[in-house]
């Protein structure tokens, strides 16, 4: 570069950008260890108490401030979230992968239109999808609860899996399947021994994506969750409405760690193939 100051400016811009993105997250993580019970933005001491507190362990802070009304409620929300996420992930991964395979193999009229329809739920505003699902469930007399949340999440997560697996299929050398058939493998063996290993990174990636999205979806879930089927994001949102409390920092930090683990798994699978 000709002007060293231009380079400096660019470096500075880069740092500013990183700060802009990560500062709020770092603050949350740091203050989750802050022992100041009332004003969480004032640093007092390092403590693990908020973490203990979310899981209902008695701490000396508990006596002064009891913010989490019920650890049981929190744990129930986590359980609901995990249940919803794993069920929807399993279902949408299977259906999304099968759809991607079908669209890849068959040529039919209006195929681009059909592919467009499969993309749609990804770009549809969450609010619209949430309202539409709510109206649908109410009209058809489907009880709002975990079941309706699972169905609701599947409607758009299938699209995510479809897109990720389709991309992988498009990159696959289609003579591989022919070579397998040529060597005497019937379509089922060809699928198991050649196609599946080729698209597996796509399937795993799609599944992890679906899991993360399902885990932290708030807007759509908020519309279609029943009273006794609160998921973690909905529960946290509820907590926030009654005031920002230090435990939230701890919960957010734990969720962050969890998401990082899932994302790293995804990257690991990508790398391996």
């Amino acid at each position: 570069m000709r002007h060293p100051w231009l380079r400096r400016l660019l470096d500075f811009h880069g740092l500013l950008f990183l700060f802009f993105v990560y500062a709020p997250i770092i603050i949350v993580v740091v203050y989750s260890f802050n022992s100041h019970p009332v004003n969480m933005m004032v640093w007092k001491d390092f403590t693990f108490d908020w973490y203990l507190s979310i899981f209902g362990n008695p701490t000396k802070l508990n006596e002064q401030t009891l913010y989490v009304e019920s650890t049981d409620q929190l744990l129930a929300a986590v359980k609901n979230s995990l249940l919803v996420a794993s069920t929807t992930t399993a279902f949408s991964t299977i259906v999304g992968t099968a759809t991607a395979l079908a669209v890849y193999r068959h040529h039919f009229r209006l195929k681009p239109f059909y592919q467009g329809l499969l993309f749609m739920p990804m770009v549809m505003p969450d609010i619209v999808l949430g309202i539409a699902l709510l109206v649908f469930f109410v009209n058809f007399g489907i009880k709002l609860g975990l079941f309706s949340i699972i169905i609701g999440h599947c409607t758009f997560l299938i699209s995510y899996v479809f897109v990720v697996v389709s991309a992988r299929l498009a990159g696959m050398d289609d003579t591989l399947e022919q070579a397998s058939a040529d060597l005497g493998a019937n379509p089922w063996i060809t699928f198991r021994r050649v196609t599946l290993p080729q698209i597996l990174p796509g399937i795993v990636g799609g599944a992890l994506l679906a899991f993360i999205i399902s885990m932290d979806d708030l807007v759509i879930t908020y519309f279609i969750a029943g009273v006794d089927s609160t998921t973690l994001p909905v529960f946290i949102y509820g907590m926030l409405r009654r005031g920002v409390k230090p435990e939230i920092n701890a919960i957010a930090t734990l969720m962050l760690v969890f998401s990082f683990v899932i994302a790293s798994l995804g990257l690991y699978f990508r790398k391996r193939t």
Partner: protein, 370 residues
Amino acid sequence: MTGAAPEPIAEVREAVKRFPAPEGGVVTALDNISLEVQQGQFATLLGPSGCGKTTLLRTISGFEDLDSGEVRIGGIPVTGVPPYRRPVNTVFQNYALFPHLPVSGNVGYGLEVAGVQRSERDRRVGEALERVGLSGFHRRKPAQLSGGQQQRVALARAIINQPKLLLLDEPLSALDRNLRQSMQLELKSLQHDLGICFLFVTHDQEEALTMSDQVIVLNQGKIEQVGPPEVLYHRPATRFVAEFIGDGALFHGKIQNTDADPVLVTEDGLRIAVGTGPGVGDSATLIIRPEHLSIAPEDPDDSMGVLDAVLEQMVFKGATRQYVCRLANGAAISATPPEASEEAFIRVRPGEPVRLAYRRSKPHLIVETN
């Protein structure tokens, strides 16, 4: 040999295949093709790009259905039989090795699918790899092999099931010239050792001549000629074959003069003496190959034809020299004289006139009787 001809390994009868062309209309990829390949033969499909070679192979391996006609393998019609039940194997142009399997997994794939025991499989994989000169490469992944090595793995994978017929779709086209030439000879001797019939596709006439027992020349979905390389080279049946195979100058015209002293007169008035045989008034094409030509002696006899030309340049080709000359009608003609008669050429300077002579009986004449 007496008695019935041996049963062909594969037979294509009156095959027709059309594709809808994207720009509308249809492309006739196979236009009433009939051919057979015999046990132990090295047969080659030769033709320019787009003439239907791949399509023909794919109808034999089962990836393409015919619009009409049929394919028989070992005497049995295979219409409607899926690729995985046909006793043929293919070496794909891009090799199509399974990237997630090591070399041993690739080569042993056919055996594993067929349910062959592990120990037996390992033994035969080892044998096949040894055959193609890749012992010790078992554990490598395809991405860790050179192009030539991948080629060999593809070959080992295709021969391990001992197919009746091995189809090879331009398997050498991605290799560089040196490797290609050595692979040509290796393939040929592999075919000889295995005794399997090879049906080999290429658009390279030199490759076809080097390797084949039988060459099938295709053009625009039709068969132009079938025959051993010598026959195609020395006695091409059509002008297309004459032009496609080997070097040489082609002269098209009508036969004049008597039966004893026939002359081909081209449209631009060139008179070229030809061998006996054609009738007066026949349309004909004469093919003069470079090796037919030398410098005319002082007093050429009746068995020779003479062409007046001007030497343009000498091209050094290693083993031989090629003398490029220009005829009176502006057509170029090349001579690669045998060493003994090269003396006379060396004395001619570029730009000087030269008299070229050939034995009348040598150049092949394609007669299109009217």
